[in-house]
Amino acid sequence: MSKRKLQKKKRGKRMKMVKNKIVFLCLSFVIFFSPFVIFDSSLAQDLDFSDTDSWEISASNQLEYSLDRKNHQDIFHNWFDFNWTYDLYDVGLRYEAHQPDDLGKTYQELSYRYFDLSGEFLKLTVGNYYVMFGRGLILRSYENRDLRHDNNLEGIKGTIDLDGFDLTLLGGTPKGRYERINDPLHAVDGSIAFFDWMSLGGSYLRTNITDFGFVRLYGGNATLTFPHLDLYGEFARKDNPAERFIEKDGDGIYLSSNIYYTGFGVSLEYKDYERFDFTNRDVTYNNPPSLTKEHLYSLLNRHAYILNLYDERGFQVQTTSTPHEKLSLLANYSYTTDHKDKMIFSEIYGEAEYDYKDLATIKGGFSRMENKQVEGSPYYLAPVFDLTYYLSGQTSIAFVLEHLWTNKYDGDLTYYDQIISLGLSHSPIISLTFTHERTTEWKTRDWSGKKRWFVTTLGLSLGEKHNLSLSIGSRRAGKVCSGGVCTARPALDGWELKLLSQF
């Protein structure tokens, strides 16, 4: 590209950034100061908000800011959502600012805008939308801010929803991490209930991927519901372009059954995914179940399994029971192999929770996990202990101990990570938590980093509409995982502020 063209492109980008900032600032001032105008007592008397035919306006804002005092680096994220609702109509938008984001990139944009028309049986969306077919084998478009994931579609979606029958038709282009992928996709999903206890469904998706060709995904699902027993099965096929003979077509199967009585429930699941990954640059279109436990504790999620749709199969079983009104139990076993039956991941986990005389809640758990995705193919042993003591109806102290031994099969390499946290909370306004983490991994290899981290977190509820969280100290870098999808989380050595607001 010539120098002149490059300069013109840079100028264009700068102008766009300035324009976006002006739009955002104007919008912000209108929204921030409108409550003063709208809710000023003299004006409020003239406006009748009890009229059900009036506009409803609502908004929310999520702000996250962190400053690393050592490297003088900061990260700033802000998501502002706004919508108007009037009778059958709903219009909304989202403005995001990342200055910079976790990967150091600075940008701001109107990332989401839509117009919805909702009738009794028909709903039409023009603009951006999210959608999931079945259990996500064919298509799952969703937002998860903790994972910094948003693959919303931009286009049109129509849904017909009748008793026993529903149908969704859509067309759109997906969003990648930083820009929209201009490869349009078209899809249809529907289901029919034949009896009270059975429904059948099917989905079809087609997209033309640049420099690759047409890709189709299609499949069917069945849901059977009986007293104390539910069954669900979904099968899907992925057809790659005929001319790309190297890439064979793929298959995905997911089965689940639930057995339950009052006080006892069992969930059994099976998966088989082969050449079923469906990505386009940095966009993943589908997100089937990974059949691994999503834990409630940090260390147990630290070496989470990452879904590999190209080659995996396995099963998971989980039971939940309450044998006594003060005691609840949970047990989980998951096992994943490749198609050559080589084990990739396994975990066995159990926990028990007991309510002691309304004075305290005590929970103990234990996990044994093996994850071949991690270098050295280690296995992990992790006990957890969680105690909440109630000082009064609204004040409590919480103590949590997590311990994770990492053992590698190639030698006697063993080290542990440990997290201890102590928190005091007074409902509904305030909580204060001290969290200490340490590792002995430094004994096993060259180590130039920290061995201990300590962070204090203050949580405040400012009225009903605002929640503030302020963390000061240090926190280890790691991964944030959800549903088999992970993202890197940078270390913290400074302070971090989160503010959630609703209007």
């Binding site: 969703y142 429930g265 691994t292 999503e294 007074h426 607001s501």
Partner: protein, 187 residues
């Protein structure tokens, strides 16, 4: 420097002006209507349930520790006030990974209130939920009277108080209505 300055502006605006945007007590917001399926696949619509008593929406997921704690407490609240017309709708935002564990968990923990699946998180977005657990208390005419994000042990006491206030309001309103009917009858 410019970026830092704009961030300071954001922080100033959000920390100092937002608290001033707390709405007056008499300002009510209509709860957005929605339709979702319960664990048995039956459709449930919010507006069909209005009219009997207060409704509490609780957004939760199986992987959210404070959500489970809160719903265990709300189960006790549900048992206490259900006969007076109070209803809880637990809106589940689990993704496909944990979806199949919902029903066994609900039955295993003996929760008796309806649980609805918010498949594409459309209800979550309608209510501008930013984190879970998130609770919304709606009165019988469909107005939102209380919202709260996060859970601290003891929050259920605040919710109980709000429910009792709404039930008292309801009782006063129906007694007033009956009184007016009697007067009209006498006339």
């Amino acid at each position: 420097m410019r970026i830092l300055f704009s961030k300071l502006i954001f922080l100033f605006l959000f920390l100092f002006i937002f608290p001033l945007s707390v709405q007056p007590k008499d300002k009510k917001t209509t709860a957005p209507n929605f339709v979702a399926k319960n664990l048995d696949g039956e459709k449930v619509e919010l507006k069909e349930l209005l009219g009997d008593g207060p409704i509490l929406l609780s957004f939760w997921a199986t992987w959210c520790k404070p959500c489970i704690k809160e719903l265990n407490e709300l189960q006790k609240v549900y048992k206490k006030y259900k006969k007076k017309g109070f209803e809880i709708l637990a809106i589940d935002v689990d993704g496909p990974r944990s979806r199949s564990k919902v029903k066994p968990m609900v039955k295993g923990l003996k929760w008796e209130f309806p649980v609805l699946w918010d498949k594409s998180k459309s209800i979550y977005r309608k209510y501008h939920v930013l984190g879970i657990p998130h609770t919304v208390l709606i009165d019988k005419s469909g107005e939102i009277r209380y919202t709260h994000t996060t859970y601290r042990p003891g929050d259920e006491e605040v919710i109980k108080k709000k429910i009792e206030e709404l039930l008292d309001e309801q009782k006063e309103a129906s007694e007033k209505k009956e009184g007016e009917k009697d007067e009209d009858g006498e006339k």
